[in-house]
Symmetry: C3
Subunit: 158 residues, 3 copies
């Protein structure tokens, strides 16, 4: 069993999730090879890393709070290629729209080891199991006790 590869792929996906949820798009892009492809949900397909990262950067702007909790990896390594299944337990809050989403999905990823020996994502997709939506007006006391992105938002008068 290639324990180095498995460990590196784990840390790669953990960095993917952390930089996605902290909106560090430069570091996030580095988890994928430039020619990476992605399928997002049922309909959206991306044929390059740049188009995929641009989409996510627009979708998950500072007005959207996300928790992409990635766990339960099942990794299969074959030389310089590997596949992985992960549970995604996700929460999304859009304060301006008063909307909160929660759900489960499974990532199906492919990974490659490049000439420098680094593992990176070459393909990612996820298949949703369920997703629930709640209008926060039903929970009038709902408030963000802390929101890192608040401080980054330009003032309304700007």
């Amino acid at each position: 069993m290639d324990h180095d590869a498995i460990r590196e792929i784990h840390q790669l996906k953990h960095r993917y999730a952390r930089t996605l949820d902290t909106k560090k798009w430069g570091e996030f892009a580095q988890t994928m090879v430039p020619e990476a492809t992605a399928i997002y949900g049922e309909y959206l397909r991306f044929d390059s890393r740049d188009s995929f990262v641009s989409f996510l950067e627009n979708t998950f702007s500072i007005h959207v709070i996300t928790q992409h909790h990635c766990s339960q990896p099942e990794i299969d390594v074959d030389g310089d290629r590997a596949t992985g299944i992960w549970l995604l337990a996700d929460t999304t809050i859009i304060p301006d729209d008063g909307l909160m989403l929660r759900g489960s999905a499974y990532y199906h990823d492919r990974y490659v080891r490049d000439d420098h020996g680094r593992w990176r994502i070459s393909y990612t997709s996820f298949e949703r199991t369920w997703e629930s939506a709640v209008d926060l007006k039903d929970i009038p006391s709902f408030r963000l006790a802390f929101n890192r992105w608040d401080q980054l938002e330009p003032p309304a008068s700007a």
Copy 2:
């Protein structure tokens, strides 16, 4: 440290959780030896894999959405036997009853390596820490934006 064993036990439990939540009962049963025993909650005891899987298949039918999020493994390997503690952070939604449950528990598992070198679960139990319940009628806007099992449900007129 037997890294192969630990890695295989991790992936075994991850497959257990994934096939449980996606209701792939045949694949789910294969994570356990036939003579596996289980304690479920405070009162339910099962003395074979078949009786345990039947119970779960009935309890978690397509009318019940589950997220068994298994993580934080503490695995102890001793030759062809091993024990494991896991956090279970679980969410259950029963749309027809308008009920949502969330909670924490700890799995206490035992594993065996069979003659083919495969690790499987020989005993599983969990000890709950807490569980909360909410009637979804308190949150009128609650809706399932997606539910894989909806499509599988026979029409009401069938």
Copy 3:
């Protein structure tokens, strides 16, 4: 790659989270060296294990239900020292105050291997991304179907 070290640090943090959420303060303290330091949130600093554990023991008494879900480790080992980043996906319920909190944060830890070869936490901190708060009076049906700590509470007349 020092797989023994990485595995031991993982299990160390998993034990940290489990004993924190099950309020096993003696076992919890053993995950840290006596001279461990901690930064908790934005303002609280602790310069010894004893002061940190005392604070947590008071804060997370049997009147507070916690789920510190620690995952997505990124561990970097350098001899007998190591650093780690972890996602904290936390839920806190304070039944007496009718309050529920949920959020994301990232732990930034340091670890040391002591003379007996055991890894322990020498420094821990976390940086919050977001935290939401809900008054449970908005969800009148909210109830604890199970709460391990209830049984441990002294009767009101005591």
